[in-house]
């Protein structure tokens, strides 16, 4: 983790309200270090896009403060934006060939012509767009357009890159390639703010993850810590070389003493004795040595044993909660505050 004084972005109680008392984002306090990749996760309407738009000056904050690269977010203006890169959720295109789009965008940013030409070649190769370089935007596939959006933004220098769902519509290989490249750039010192719905992607790429829900920051931590804190129970499955008789199962269940819960299919009293015992447990680190001892003590022999890893998805679902589905159906109605915010801000509140 970078040193704490290496913050390139720091927000305190940042908020945006689209009408008096109606907030799309509220009390957003987070920091971003140089070379760090910060993931913004949340359900539709959580406020991810609003956060990106706020932090890139496309929306004016209605409360709180933020300092980005030493500039006040409210007054930084052009000087601040000239050090940022932004890949917005909505596709933006000029009506020239893909190759010309890249060099034209570089020209807009004041990149010297020769640098722009060589960088365009680099991006075309990196994002596998060589076959489409002479095509106009409307002749590109959805995935090609998305790859192009990211490639175009990388045509100029920046210190912080904001990516709003950059991998939507991409195949697994393209996605992996882009993530690997972004990881490399982060190692070179580029700070990245990245929104996605693909939790596995966030787990792979992000140093820290901010989980937003209904415009509020629920958690901000590393993926590992989030999994540990909110990932819930893990499933431990043991298959033995011989059947485990019901009395032994009953003894196992009582011996657990709250270390875990025996799963239904292997409950004591099950009609048939099977070779399998399965349980759910929160702290497998302490449980596993105990299990090993218990198995040895009862002269059983493992055929195989597996422990299901905690996932970010598990942590995410654990945080947002099962009743979020109900909230979602309420907030996705056309008259919901989030929909209203979408109309007011002219953006996707995702």
């Amino acid at each position: 983790m970078p040193p704490p004084n290496d913050l390139v972005l720091e927000s305190r109680d940042l908020g945006y309200s689209y009408a008096p008392g109606r907030f799309a984002i509220r009390h957003l306090s987070l920091g971003l270090h140089r070379g760090e990749v910060l993931g913004l996760l949340g359900r539709n309407g959580a406020g991810k896009t609003t956060t990106v738009r706020l932090l890139t000056t496309l929306l004016p904050p209605t409360e709180g403060t933020a300092t980005i690269l030493g500039y006040d977010l409210r007054t930084g203006g052009r000087a601040l934006r000239s050090r940022l890169g932004v890949v917005l959720q909505s596709e933006s295109l000029d009506f020239v060939s893909l190759e010309r789009n890249l060099t034209l965008y570089a020209f807009l940013w004041g990149v010297p012509r020769e640098v722009a030409k060589s960088r365009a070649e680099e991006m075309i190769e990196l994002f596998e767009l060589d076959h489409a370089r002479k095509r106009k935007p409307w002749a590109l596939s959805g995935g090609e357009r998305r790859r192009f959006q990211v490639a175009r933004e990388l045509m100029h220098e920046m210190e912080i890159l904001f990516l709003d769902e950059p991998t939507v519509g991409l195949d697994a290989i393209s996605r992996r390639r882009i993530l690997r490249y972004l990881r490399e750039r982060a190692k070179q010192g580029l700070s990245i703010v990245f929104t996605t719905h693909i939790l596995h992607e966030a787990d792979l790429l992000c140093d820290r993850i901010a989980i937003l829900h209904l415009g509020r920051l629920l958690a901000l931590d590393t993926a590992e810590s989030l999994k540990l804190r909110y990932g819930g129970n893990r499933e431990v499955s043991m298959v033995f070389t011989t059947p485990v008789p019901p009395p032994l199962r009953a003894e196992f269940a009582s011996a657990l003493h709250g270390r875990g819960a025996v799963l239904l299919d292997a409950e004591p009293g099950a009609a048939e004795a099977t070779n399998r015992l399965a349980l759910r447990a929160e702290h497998t680190e302490e449980l596993l040595p105990w299990l090993s001892q218990w198995v040895q003590a009862h002269s059983l022999e493992f055929e195989r044993m597996s422990v299901e890893e905690a996932t970010l998805e598990g942590a995410f679902l654990g945080m947002i909660g099962e009743d979020a589905a109900e909230e979602d159906s309420r907030t996705s109605r056309d008259d919901s505050p989030e929909r209203e915010a979408l109309r007011q801000t002219g953006g996707e509140l995702t």
Binding site: L58, L88, S92, L104, L108, G110
Partner: protein, 257 residues
Amino acid sequence: MRLPPVLRLVVRNFTSNLDPISITIRFGQPVVTIVVLGTMFSSIISSSVTNGTSYTAFLVPGMVAFQMITGGVISGNLFWLDRRWAMTEQIFSGPFLRSEYLGGLVLTTLLFSLVGVGVMMLVGLPFIGIAALSPLGVGTVLLTVALGSIFFAGLLITLGTRLRSANAYFSIQSFLQLFVIFLSTVYYPISASTPKVLAVIFYGNPLTYAANTIRDAFAGTLGGSALEGLGILAALALVMFVAAVGAFRTLELGPIQ
């Protein structure tokens, strides 16, 4: 060398979104009007109606004035396409101010209008001759078209900031274009026989002042009425530019259809 932001935006405006076919049609339409309409109607419209000149000679200054609409429409369309394809938002997230983006659009408008003026002059001169067009006259023509272009660009950009549907934008733009052209003195003068209501509408139309001023410049009769026309155009251009600036300050970004 790194160009100033406004000029970079102008270069980008010329490079993107402007396809050769639509540009050819935009400049070609008034040329065809001068050649075909002028030639055909000259034989049936008496020169007494057109202040002693042929109908073609009457039409050429009108078509020169018409270039301010061409420029304004191009600017409005550029802005609309930028909004539609989210380039406005993308540009605003970069090292540009909103005022620079607006300045880039207006400058693009002016350049287009002035190129249009050149094309119309080249086509029209064989019909009207150049004798009476003094340097002051040329300056007046350019200033008139420039002011008119700013007015129409401001009008269409303001409209573009407030509409969220392509159908609505292009329908209103077509209607405005038709209304402004035909209810002006581009095709026919105001005379004693012009119905009073129509005359009032004509004088409420900036294109009338532009066409009349340019006719005076071509005829070498620049005087008080030309100055008055320029003053009205300048005031209208200022009002529409301020309206466009205001609309830009409160422009809501995001998806439109």
